[in-house]
Amino acid sequence: MSTVKTLILRAPGINRDEETALAFQQAGAETQLATINQVARAAFRFADYQVIVFPGGFAYGDDLGAGRVLASELNLKLRAEIEPFIAGGGLVLGVCNGFQTLVKAGTLPGPVSRGQTVTLTNNDSGRFECRWVYLTANPNSRCVFTRGIERIYVPVAHGEGKLVAPPEVIESLDVALYYTNAKGRKHAGYPHNPNGSLKDIAGITDSTGRIFGMMPHPEDHIRATHHPRWTRGEATAASLGLAIYKNAVEWVKSL
């Protein structure tokens, strides 16, 4: 496929939509921003795109819990769009608020028919925190977005990012990204794991590897001067979050 078309969904309170568009453009995709309302009245159709993104922010203020209202809208207003899109082999990315939305809608870890099985809840610190974290990819994950990645360095900016689920669900998750220290070691504790997520889980994928959600923000590290220590000469190409977007684009192109 020559052009990769990405649809970035917006809802009241969503932010980082423009950075996400920039990241996808930098990775070689065409991007379109659309509100949930526009999709609901079919001004934009998922079928015309290969990648659907739920970006970060505070959809509807997160007043009923992060991503809660948007998740209901996804299941009620957009079901007829998203189900055939997923069944047809499309890619879905949820970052931060988008991850919270996908989890609360039951899209992740999926299948949707099982309903919500995982949640993202208040950080152990009890507060919103903005800090940079190392994410180490799980080489055994089916995830399309994290293929070939060893370790990236990206910021978190959330108050509800702790992934929690019953032990049997946790064991069955396809974990794509873990919070680790700079050397890739798990169980590094706070602040390496910034929210207390069980098993240091930062991002998960579904059984197809095509639906992927993560709490940190790869779109905030797409050039060297984003790196918090670039003035110390510590920015590296391998640590860029851009790899996530490049993987998505390359995967679609390879079809």
Partner: protein, 682 residues
């Protein structure tokens, strides 16, 4: 507003929301952010907010509960509430909070100060204010109108008393960040489609002020019953003056009305036609077919008699203390690092999203562990442009206790030297002044205000940096048992500067053992109002002065050096002087240093180690330079006062030798950092 890169323009506004934050810290601070963001949204034909700044002044967090005047919230509660309000509102709007300060003084206990700033970005061809035509519709966008915030501005200008909390509670507005985000998203779309001819925000005074201002040259008819309400039962006068939040006022040519309403509806924002502009130069208001107001615009705008006030000023008498020299200053340095004003504000900064919008270049926290105190923040707001925008601030109220002139001059110097330290220059630097004062009916207090203003005038010309915006908040007093407690004279200077290449940014953390450490700028015996004197219980009589000719020359030389990549780290010297700045560079870089005070360039004879260590003389910097660049750096700096005072070391200790060659500071970097981080590790 100033030009950014030829295609884009940037604007900057700072507001205060003091009294609301005194009685309802969370709501007061949140609506403070909301208000200043709307100011920027209403600039030109609408700017996109790209950065927020926050400066707070509180009573000390360890203030004795038993001494708290009745009706006053404890500083710690005010601090936590204000922080939460600013973070919740700013984070939800998706605007990074990049720069700020937190200052503490007992006199702020009953009257805290909350400064909220916003930087906006817009296409240059949309940077001028629009002009409506008669027949254009008056469109109100955003939040619904309720009884909250009635007489908000009036309350903000009154003296606070023990009863303020109960009597004025309804004067505090109720914010909803998501409503504002929807308005913002719709607004930028409507702007780019050129659907409206003019825009302004509904701030203090609500519709009365927004409509009245916008229609000055035309005239206007407004149907107050068309204003969407939160609940029934408001009188037309309440609708007219309510300061309910998240509202913007637009002038919209009739042909565009439908598309405009649709554009906002798409974002879930409410927009309503409430009247039309006329050509009769009158303000006419209707409520359910009754005429309820009919005033000439001329009277409305020019009918108010000018106030006349008297000012005088006398320098207060604070003797210069006699202090016996100490053997070493280890304990003193640790105490100053741990003082409320100097200590790490990481607890606050981490709870703000400083990454959203993906533009950061120099973050508020920098260094090897990403927790050192950066001088200024830098963003690269236009991805296709190399240009960076530097944002900084200067504030120091203690100097004002001695002389408000030097306080204002110092604040300007501080804001500008942070710009310089971060790699910016004076070329495209602009300033903002926000005055918070006690009662100006008090002659002395007004005299102090005049002196501070004179310094702003003088320094602005001397540095070639224009004041592009400003604001004042007067009557910051609290009455208790017949006694008036006035806040200290407070002037916040905010600065922004455009740098041609954001990749030339310099952070303040030491980078490499073996590099040279330079002091740039001369030190004077100027300990008045310093952290050092304060820690010993003194004020003193000699505040730092500004010598703008030498300062400007030095700043220009440093800018040249940073633009040539000759400087590995640069930090400005401010509260706590050389001692604190060296410690901060060392622990931010995770490296030690060895320096000697006897090599420091001075502007007068100084024979005391404590003066050299802790004097807060303005226009001074510390710079780290690689030995290989020594010659080129020194050539670039030639003609200024500067000297190598030592070098960065791989050891874990900061060692400072005094004038007699004896170590006056010898402390592990870890210990210095712990002293600095401990107080606000909440």
């Amino acid at each position: 507003m100033i030009d950014f890169d030829g295609d884009w323009a940037v604007c900057f506004k700072v507001e205060t929301h003091n009294h609301p934050s005194a009685i309802e810290p969370y709501g007061g601070a949140a609506t403070g952010v909301g208000g200043v963001v709307r100011d920027v949204m209403g600039t030109g034909l609408g700017a996109k907010p790209i950065a927020n700044t926050d400066v707070f002044c509180f009573g000390p967090p360890d203030f004795d509960f038993n001494r708290l005047p009745p009706g006053v919230l404890h500083p710690r509660r005010v601090f936590k509430g204000v922080r939460a309000g600013v973070a919740d509102y700013g984070n939800r709007l998706g605007i990074p909070t990049l720069n700020g300060a937190v200052c503490f003084d007992e006199r702020y206990t009953a009257n805290p100060l909350v400064f909220c700033g916003t930087v906006g970005l817009m296409p240059r061809d949309m940077s001028q204010q629009g002009r409506q035509k008669p027949g254009d519709r008056v469109v109100l966008v955003g939040g619904r109108t309720g009884r909250d915030g009635i007489h908000g501005v009036t309350f903000a200008s009154e003296q606070l008393t023990r009863d303020s909390t109960e009597l004025s509670f309804t004067s505090v507005q109720i914010g909803n960040a998501i409503v504002e985000k929807k308005v913002l998203d719709g607004l930028l779309k409507a702007r780019d489609k050129k659907l409206f001819s003019r825009i302004t925000d509904c701030g203090g005074g609500g519709l009365s002020s927004a409509v009245g201002e916008m229609a000055e040259e035309t005239g206007v008819k407004v149907y107050l019953d068309k204003v969407p309400l939160k609940y029934a039962g408001l009188s037309y006068s309440e609708i007219w003056i309510s300061e309910s939040q998240e509202r913007m006022l637009l002038a919209v040519p009739q042909v565009n009305v439908e598309e405009l309403l649709q554009t906002f509806a798409e974002e879930g924002a409410e927009a309503t036609v409430i009247g039309e502009f006329t050509d009769d130069k009158k303000l006419t208001l209707y409520y359910k077919d009754h005429s309820v107001c009919d005033l000439e615009m001329g009277f409305l705008h020019g009918g108010r008699p000018q106030m006349s006030l008297t000012a005088s000023w006398q320098k207060p008498l604070h003797p210069e203390p006699q202090i016996a020299p100490a053997g070493d200053y280890n304990d003193t340095l640790l105490k100053i690092l741990g003082s409320w004003n100097v200590c790490s504000k990481e607890w606050v900064i981490r709870q703000y999203d400083h990454e959203v919008q993906g533009a950061s270049v120099l973050k508020p926290l920098v260094g090897q562990a990403e927790d050192g105190p950066g001088d200024a923040a830098i963003i690269k707001p236009v991805p296709t442009s190399r240009c960076g925008l530097v944002i900084s601030n200067g504030i120091n109220t203690r100097y004002g206790d001695i002389d408000p002139y030097w306080m204002a001059a110092s604040a300007i110097d501080e804001a500008l030297r942070q710009v310089i330290a971060a790699g910016g220059s004076l070329d495209k630097a602009a300033l903002l002044d926000n005055f918070c004062w006690g009662s100006v009916k008090n002659e002395q207090s007004l005299g102090a205000l005049v002196r501070a203003s004179q310094a702003c005038h003088d320094m602005s010309l001397a540095y070639g940096a224009p004041f592009i915006s400003g604001k004042d908040s007067l009557n910051n007093e609290f009455e208790h048992e017949g006694q008036r407690i006035s806040i200290p004279h407070t002037l916040l200077i905010s600065a922004m500067a455009v740098m041609p290449d954001a990749a030339k940014a310099v952070s303040m953390d030491f980078k490499q053992a073996g590099n040279l450490i330079y002091v740039l700028g001369a030190t004077f015996d100027e300990l008045g109002g310093s952290e050092y004197y304060s820690h010993l219980g003194y004020i003193g009589s000699n505040p730092p002065q500004v010598r703008p000719e030498a300062a400007r020359k030095l700043m220009n030389s440093i800018s040249l050096a940073t633009s040539h990549g000759l400087v590995r780290a640069c930090h400005d010297l401010s509260e706590g002087g050389l001692g604190v700045a060296l410690a901060e560079m060392a622990f931010a870089g995770g490296l030690g240093a060895e320096v000697s005070l006897d090599r420091m360039p001075t502007g007068e004879d100084i024979n005391r180690d404590d003066v050299l260590l802790f004097s807060e003389s303005n226009s001074r910097f510390l710079a780290e330079v690689e030995p290989g660049n020594q010659e080129e750096f020194e050539n670039t700096l030639r003609g200024n006062a500067f000297a190598v005072i030592g070098k960065v070391t791989g050891s874990d200790t900061l060692k400072i030798k005094g004038l007699k060659g004896k170590l006056v500071i010898s402390l592990p970097v870890k210990t210095l950092k712990e002293a600095w981080q401990k107080p606000l590790r909440w």
